[in-house]
Symmetry: C14
Subunit: 92 residues, 14 copies
């Protein structure tokens, strides 16, 4: 098997697993934060605005870790420096 093929195979598997494993943590964390936000709003309806603002900041922080994984996954599929190197080297 030539180099580009191997790089391609490994990139596909890694891209998929990265986003699949990498979303478990953020999803569960967001679920917890949202659930607690709803409980807090039900307990203090007058603070709904403050609570929503804190929730969105928190969700953005948590989502950022999912986005790290998505970025790495997209880099591996569409902007993979190792793939570019070997495709260029082999003149495919």
């Amino acid at each position: 098997m030539d180099a580009a093929l191997l790089i391609g195979l490994v990139s596909i598997v890694t891209a998929g697993l990265t986003i699949a494993i990498g979303t478990i943590g953020p999803a569960l964390a967001e679920g917890r934060a949202v659930a607690q936000a709803l409980a807090a709003i039900a307990q203090q309806p007058d603070e709904a605005a403050t609570l929503s603002r804190s929730l969105f900041v928190g969700l953005a922080m948590i989502e950022s870790t999912a986005i790290y994984c998505f970025v790495v996954s997209m880099i591996l599929i569409f902007a993979n420096p190792f793939w570019n190197h070997f495709v260029a080297a082999a003149g495919h």
Copy 2:
């Protein structure tokens, strides 16, 4: 085995596992958020509108992580750049 075959095999497995593993977290998180929303509505029926709005925003954030996985899975099946490269290269 030629290159396109290997890319195809790996893409099938990765696409399936990505969406299978990637939906565990979001599903559980949505279940938690929905359950808490129902508890909150039962506790504060007057805030049902506010709570529903917060719930839908939260569900959208959580669903987004599942959609990242679905997007990667669909890219691997229907818009796989590595597959396109090798099919074109081999003139299949």
Copy 3:
């Protein structure tokens, strides 16, 4: 083994595992949501309509992640582009 055979074998395994693993999360999440809905209705019978509506929206969101898996599984069995490619190429 020829290419179509390998694609077929891998598609069968992946299709089965995708739907098997992919239903664990949604099923548990729906169970949690339904259980909480019943508790909420018992606590606030007057809000049964609102609670049911929220429950159905939530179940639809959760079910969607199971359906992503079912869609990928069906695509792999009945509309597999890699299978079509190799069957056509080999003139089977």
Copy 4:
């Protein structure tokens, strides 16, 4: 080993594991929902009709994920397109 044999072997294993793994989640979820329904009826006997209706809708949703697995399992045993293809191709 010829193609049909391999397809058959893999189909048997996948069919069994799909339904075995795929029933864990729904069974646990239904158990949770039923348990909560009983607690809710004991708490609000007057709402038994409403609670039962909600329970049956919820059980149907959860059962649907088990049925996805059963459908895939039956397709693999009795309506397997890959099996049909290779049996027809080999003229067995």
Copy 5:
């Protein structure tokens, strides 16, 4: 090894594992439902009839997932289409 032998070996293992793994979920779920039913009857003895009826419907739903596994297991042992095919083909 000939085809029928392989089909037989795989069918035995799969049949056993399918029913072994597939009963874990339903058994635990039924245990939960029965335990909750007893607690509910102790709390509301006057509703014992309603609770028992709900319990039996729920147990039937849960048992159905165990029966799916048992059906697949029995099909693999006594009505296996792949086994029949290869035994007929080989004229054993």
Copy 6:
């Protein structure tokens, strides 16, 4: 190794594992149900008869899943159709 030997080896392992794994769930579930029954009787001694009856029905349902496994295990040891086929075929 001849066919009957392989079938025998696999049947032994599968029979043992099937009953070993298959009793974990039912045992735990029965333990839960019995424990709750005792708690319920202590709470409502006057309903001991009703509670015992519900308990026995529930235990029977749970035990049924263990019996499925025991049946499959016994079939594999003493009434194995694949074993009979190959022993008859080979004229041992």
Copy 7:
């Protein structure tokens, strides 16, 4: 290696694992039931006779699952039909 040897090796391993794995569930379940029985007797000393009777019935049901495993384990060591078959066939 001859057939009887292989059957013997596999029977030893399976017999050991079957009883080892198969006692985990029943032991934990009995521990739970006994613990709850003690709590119940402490709560309702006047019902000690009823509670003990229910406990013993429950323990018998749970023990039965451990005994299934012990039976299979003993059958594999002392009354193994496959062992008998091959020892008789080989005229050892």
Copy 8:
């Protein structure tokens, strides 16, 4: 390697693992029962005799599962029928 050696190796490993794995469940279960007994005696010192008697019956039932494992382990080391068979057959 001759037959007796293999039987010996497998018997050693199986005997060790059987008792090692097989004591986890009973030990934990006894710990639970003893702990609850102490709590019950502290709550109802006047019933100490009844509670101790129930505890000892329960511990005996739980210990029986550990003894099953110890019996199998000792049989494999000191009264192994397969070992006796091959040592006798080979005239060692």
Copy 9:
């Protein structure tokens, strides 16, 4: 490798793992029993003698499962019948 060497290697590994795995359960169980005993004494200082006696009986029962493992481990190192057999047979 000769027979005595293999028996020696396997005995070392099994002896170590047996005692290592076999002490997890008893240690945790004793920790639980001791912890509960302390809580019970703090709650009922007047019953300290009764509680200590029950605790020691319970600890002895639990320790017995650890001692089963220690006995098997020591037998494998210092009184291994298989080792004795092969050392005697080979006249080492």
Copy 10:
């Protein structure tokens, strides 16, 4: 396979797994912190400013561990000293 290829393959896999595994912990931790912050604000709305400040400091500390992983992942893809060494050495 030449050295640069191997370095490339390993770098892709490691980069993906590092960020995928490395975000699980931080995401869950942030979810917990955000959830507790919302509960605290609902309990003490007057301290919302102090609580938000403490939350942001904490989130920054937690996010730092995710960023360690992201930094290592990016170094492996875009500034890998081993890759640079071998590409320079081989004059690719």
Copy 11:
């Protein structure tokens, strides 16, 4: 590789793993007992002497299981009968 080398390798690995795995249970159990002792002393300072005495007896019982592992580990390193046998036999 000669016999003494193999015995040495296996003894090193087993000695390390035995003590590493074997301290998990006792450490956790002691932590639990100590924690409960502190809670009990805080609740009943007048019984500190009785509680300490019970604690030390309990810790000694738990520590004994860790010491079993340490003894086996030391025997394997410094008083290994198998090692002595082969070193003597080979006249190293």
Copy 12:
């Protein structure tokens, strides 16, 4: 493969896994500490300064364990003594 290549491959994998696995514990621990700090501030707003100081000391201690991992990871990538040894030895 020459020595430097192997050292490079292993260093990449180890560096990634070290930081990935090594941040799980600290991240979860920091999340727990921050969450409790927020709860404590909400409970005792007057002690916010004392609590923040204790929190920061604690976070620093916890972060130190993550930094150990990061240090080892960076040493392996940028100051690896084994890599330097072999690159110098081979005169690459």
Copy 13:
């Protein structure tokens, strides 16, 4: 590979894993004991001296299990009898 090399390799791996795995239990146990000590001091500040003394005795007991692992790890690196034997034997 010669004997000393193999002993060295295995000693490195075992030393590292022994201390890595062996500190998980003690660390968690100490964390639990310290946490409970702080809660107890907060509940009974007048007993701080008694509680601290009990805590330190308990921590010493728990730390002893970690020290067993550290001792084995150091013996394997710096006072390994097997290493000394083979280095002396080979006259390295």
Copy 14:
């Protein structure tokens, strides 16, 4: 591969895994202790000094287990006696 290379490879992997695995326990334990300290200070602000002192002693004990791992990890990278032996022996 020569001896020094193998020692180097194994040392890298072991050093990384030792510190990665070895920080999980201490980090979680410190998180628990810090969290409880904050709760205790919020409950008894007057005892903040005593609580902080106890916390720091406890954290030092826990950190010591992480430092054991760090020490072993550093020894393996920078003061490895096996590495020194083979580098000296081979005259690299």
